[in-house]
Every structure is written in structure tokens, then in C-alpha cells.
């Protein structure tokens, strides 16, 4: 089992995975994962490709519900109301309204840039044009995209460059003021400037929302996250404060992984 070592255990939790297992049909992609997520902190998830990071992330907004044959075990306790996100009694739509997500591949809708960002608001029944206008602009600004697209809000989202598309998706996720945001390698398609601005944005967002981010870029994890978890083949090998995980990991595996990269 994993050991959780941290200094400020008194921090309020936003969510907590308890004995979480996940199965794609008969293939077990997550094995008994336990992990706290602290409120208004950035937690990053690192690990080799195929280790189950995306799978784990997608448990939080019940994305796996969309496909038959997927099965959760265990629980994700969501604070402050102690809802078990994985409970069949909990409506996945409520879950997704409170927890938004940015995917690994940018997936703008084949709609205009404006409508892409406004979508989350429309889903929530917002129809006042002025409110939507404001939120769209704010979200696009936060996603460092406003300058580039402000004159072409009615163009198709797909006409943007790869990086612009990803920022568009971030803006979409931001527009609805979620409590927890899931990022699945959000900057893998971005250039350094955009990456920097997204990182900055994440740091800013921390004031308001809790963030769980999957990244391959260990420097990024080191730079922006307060906590880091290292996964390996479906298991949570190590979790701790970022500094501690990067500087003095408890596990040999973690160290190997990190140094194999940093060394």
C-alpha cells in the first residue's frame, strides 16, 4: 500500500479516492487506488504512458459511464457534501456539472468559437445574451486565446491551429465555474508561451477551484502542482507534496522514473 506523507494534513479535502479500482470489461486498469485531493490545490498525476492516468481522471466525472462494460469499485468521496461520485445513486450529470474536464486531444465542437465556449452555459439553461457574452470573453481571456480570436468568434472552432483548439477547450471547461477541474495533458499541444499562460492560469485558478492534472512534463508538474502522485500500471505508487516527491521520493520506482528523466 502507499504511504501518504505530508506536512499539512489539516488541509481541507476536496475529494478522496478510496480503494478505487476500475475495469475495462475484464481488464483491470486501476488497482485499489487511494488518494486525497486537497481543496484549492493543484494535484498532478505523473507516470509512464498507459499506466492509467487518463483512466483515473475519467473516473472523477464518470466519463466511463458512457461505455458499456466499464465498472468501478470503491469510492470517490467528494467534499464538502461527502457524495460518493461513483455511487450509482449519484447522477453523473450533476457530477459533470461540478467537475469539468479538458481532454488529451483537443475536441472542439463543429460550431463557432463562441458557441463552443458558451456551450456549458447553454447546458445550464443560461440564455441571457449579455451574461453569456461576458462569460465567453472572460473564459477566452483566461485561456489566453481572446486576443487571437476576438475578431473571428463566429468562425468554426476546427479552423484553429492545434494549440488554439486546445485552448478553446480549456476556455469551454472554464466558462462554467466548476468546483474541480480535470486536465488531461492540457498543454501537450501548446507552445511554451501558451503553456506558460495556461500554467499561470492554473496557478491563478487555484484560488477558486481545485485542480487535478495529468502531465508528462515533469517540470510542469514540479512548477505548478502542490501535490504529485506517481502511478505505475494501475497502481498509485507514491503520493505526496510535490517538493518531497521530486526531491526525496519514498519509493525506489518513483525515483527511477523521475531521475530517468531528470538525470
Amino acid at each position: 500500500m502507499i504511504e501518504i506523507n505530508m506536512q499539512e494534513t489539516q488541509l481541507p479535502l476536496k475529494a478522496e479516492a478510496r480503494n478505487l479500482s476500475f475495469f475495462y470489461g475484464s481488464f483491470q486498469a486501476l488497482k485499489n487506488v487511494n488518494m486525497p485531493i486537497y481543496e484549492k490545490r493543484v494535484t498532478s498525476l505523473i507516470g509512464p504512458s498507459g499506466c492509467g492516468k487518463s483512466t483515473y481522471l475519467r473516473c472523477f466525472n464518470r466519463m466511463h459511464d458512457l461505455y458499456p462494460g466499464n465498472r468501478y469499485e470503491g469510492a470517490i468521496d467528494f467534499h464538502p457534501d461527502h457524495t460518493d461520485l461513483l455511487s450509482p445513486k449519484v447522477d453523473p450529470i450533476e457530477v459533470r456539472m461540478r467537475i469539468s474536464m479538458v481532454f488529451q486531444k483537443p475536441n472542439p465542437f463543429p460550431k463557432s468559437i463562441y458557441e463552443n465556449v458558451a456551450y456549458g452555459l447553454r447546458v445550464r439553461g443560461e440564455s441571457a445574451r449579455s451574461v453569456i457574452d461576458d462569460k465567453v470573453e472572460a473564459a477566452l481571456r483566461s485561456a489566453a486565446l481572446w486576443g487571437e480570436v476576438k475578431d473571428r468568434l463566429n468562425e468554426q472552432g476546427a479552423n484553429l491551429s492545434g494549440g488554439q483548439q486546445q485552448r478553446l477547450c480549456i476556455a469551454r471547461a472554464l466558462a462554467t465555474d466548476p468546483e474541480l477541474m480535470l486536465f488531461d495533458e492540457p498543454t501537450s499541444a501548446l507552445d511554451p508561451i501558451a503553456t506558460a499562460s495556461i500554467e499561470e492560469l492554473i496557478t491563478e485558478l487555484k484560488e477558486k477551484v481545485t485542480i487535478l492534472i495529468v502531465t508528462h512534463n515533469m517540470q510542469q508538474a514540479a512548477r505548478i502542482s502542490d501535490y504529485t502522485a506517481y502511478m505505475y500500471i494501475g497502481e498509485m505508487v507514491e503520493f505526496g507534496e510535490t517538493d518531497q516527491v521530486f526531491i526525496k521520493p519514498n519509493k525506489k520506482e518513483t525515483e527511477d522514473y523521475i531521475t530517468g528523466r531528470f538525470g
Partner: protein, 307 residues
């Protein structure tokens, strides 16, 4: 890469491109066969029928004298029946397609529905006529009316619309759905905001093909009681004596273009054959006009959506 290898490469490419060229020609040829057939048929109808096409032809009722006979009741009937068909078949077909792709769990119920749908596509149209006669005319008491005929044809083309809808929906990348669900959308919101809009081009293809078929059908319509000689029009809303309600026309007796045509083709007098050709010509024009909107819409939609 040295000159020799480059030469070999080029030879190979030339060979490959020859296939490409040949297929391109084959494609043009195949397209030509299809289009020439259409053109030939259309031109033939035009040559034989054009002499008969006039304002009078469009505004007269059937008559024993070929020269006086017109298609007023027929084309009005066809238009109204198609209206009912479209209004019934499109929402039903799309709803069924959406259900099967977005809602249904993949179990035996879905399998049965799926097999059923494609099976229905192969049921001869006359059987639909027999079914509708028993069901709509006698059981539901809708009478031998425009409504019955429209619903019958709607049943007939439903499989095409459903299959086209399903295939169009299937081609939407999963990641788009995920994006929408992740925004907190309900299944219905995903369907109405994304699935249906993005698949509408494909749905329209199904509608176009289906409606083209429906407008040319005779046998089932005769079975449900379409007439051949009818020298009056269905009541327009709020006209006539006593004033007709908005939907009275739904229950009016009627005839349709293909019936008029079939009747004329089987008449001995050559003049009626010209009438039939003229009616055929107008029928194709009607199909084109009816589908024109759908074709234009599809053209617009397909330009915008690319994965």
C-alpha cells in the same frame, strides 16, 4: 536516394498512378452510366411529354379526352401526401435512429429492432398498403384519406431514414460526445445540440432518397383507397361551405401523380401516353423541387462539418 533508386521509384509510382487513372476513368464511366440513364429517361419524357405541358395541364382535372386531361388533383394530392409523409417519417425516423445509437443498450432488444428495421426495407410496398388498409383505414378509422396515404408512405420510407440517421450518427467521433457530456449535458442535450445537428447531412440523404421513392409509389396508395378520377381538390383551411377546419384536407379523398400516370400508360390511346410522359416529367421536377431544399441544406451542412 541515388538516380537508380529514384528511377525505380518513379516507375512504381507511374504504375500506381495508372491504376489511379483507370479507377478515375471507371468512376466517371460509372457515374456517366447512371447519369446518362437518368438523362435519357428524363429527356425521353420531356420529348414525349413537353408538348402536353401547359398551364391547362397543371390546372385541369382528369378527363377522357387526352387533350383536356390535366393533373391538378394529382399534383395537389401528391404534394399533400408528401407533406404528411415528411412530417411523419422524418421525426419518427430520426427519433428511432437516435434511440438506437445514443440510448439503447446493446442488448437483444436493440438487435431485434435493428434487424427489423432493415428487414422492413425489403417488404414490398403493396404489403404496406394491405397493412395500412387494415390498420389506418379500418382499425383507426382514418378513412381513405390523404392522412392514411401519407402515413403509409411514411412507414414505407422509415427504414431508409432510420438507417441513414444511424450511419450518420455513427460517424460522429466519440471524443465530441465526451466533450459535450463533460460539460454536464444530459443525453438529450447531447442529442439535440450535437448529435442531430452534426448528422443532419447524412439524415437528409436518407430523407431525399426515401421521399423520392415515396413520391413515385402507386400500389400501396391504391390499396389504401386513392382514387383515379377526382375532379375536386381537398378543402383548403377555412374555405368552402361549411368552412373547413385547418386540418380537414387531411381526411379528404385524393389521387396522386403516379396513379394518374399508371392509368394513362395503360390506356390504349397514344395521346394518353404523351400525357403519361408529361406527368412523369412533372413528377421528376416535383421530386427535384421537393428535395431541392434538402439538397441545398445538406450542401451547406456538409461544408461546415469536417472531422
Amino acid at each position: 536516394m541515388n538516380q537508380q533508386e529514384l528511377q525505380a521509384l518513379r516507375t512504381m509510382i507511374v504504375a500506381h498512378k495508372r491504376w489511379d487513372m483507370m479507377f478515375g476513368l471507371l468512376g466517371i464511366l460509372a457515374l456517366m452510366i447512371a447519369l446518362m440513364t437518368f438523362t435519357a429517361l428524363f429527356a425521353d419524357m420531356a420529348i414525349n411529354g413537353l408538348g402536353r405541358i401547359s398551364w391547362e395541364f397543371l390546372t385541369s382535372f382528369p378527363s377522357r379526352r387526352a387533350a383536356n386531361a390535366g393533373i391538378l388533383s394529382a399534383w395537389v394530392g401528391s404534394v399533400l401526401v408528401m407533406l404528411v409523409t415528411a412530417v411523419a417519417a422524418v421525426p419518427l425516423g430520426v427519433a428511432a435512429g437516435v434511440y438506437l445509437e445514443e440510448y439503447a443498450r446493446k442488448n437483444w432488444v436493440t438487435d431485434i429492432i435493428e434487424i427489423n428495421v432493415s428487414n422492413l426495407a425489403g417488404v414490398p410496398s403493396i404489403i404496406y398498403g394491405l397493412l395500412a388498409l387494415g390498420l389506418f383505414v379500418y382499425t383507426f378509422g382514418l378513412g381513405q384519406s390523404i392522412l392514411t396515404a401519407g402515413l403509409t408512405l411514411a412507414l414505407l420510407i422509415l427504414p431508409v431514414v432510420i438507417v441513414a440517421t444511424r450511419e450518420a450518427i455513427r460517424s460522429i467521433p466519440q471524443i465530441i460526445r465526451e466533450g459535450a457530456y463533460a460539460c454536464g449535458a444530459t443525453t438529450w442535450q447531447v442529442v439535440s445540440d450535437h448529435i442531430v445537428p452534426y448528422s443532419s447531412a447524412g439524415i437528409l440523404t436518407g430523407v431525399i432518397i426515401g421521399m423520392a421513392r415515396a413520391i413515385g409509389e402507386t400500389a400501396p396508395i391504391i390499396t389504401v383507397g386513392a382514387l383515379t378520377f377526382i375532379a375536386f381538390l381537398p378543402p383548403a383551411p377555412f374555405t368552402g361551405e361549411p368552412p373547413a377546419g385547418v386540418f380537414d384536407w387531411l381526411f379528404a379523398p385524393f389521387t396522386v401523380m403516379p396513379i394518374q400516370m399508371f392509368n394513362w400508360t395503360s390506356r390504349p390511346e397514344a395521346a394518353f401516353l404523351a400525357n403519361a410522359a408529361a406527368a412523369g416529367f412533372i413528377l421528376v421536377l416535383m421530386t427535384l423541387a421537393m428535395n431541392g431544399l434538402a439538397i441545398w441544406l445538406r450542401y451547406r451542412l456538409r461544408k461546415n462539418i469536417n472531422w
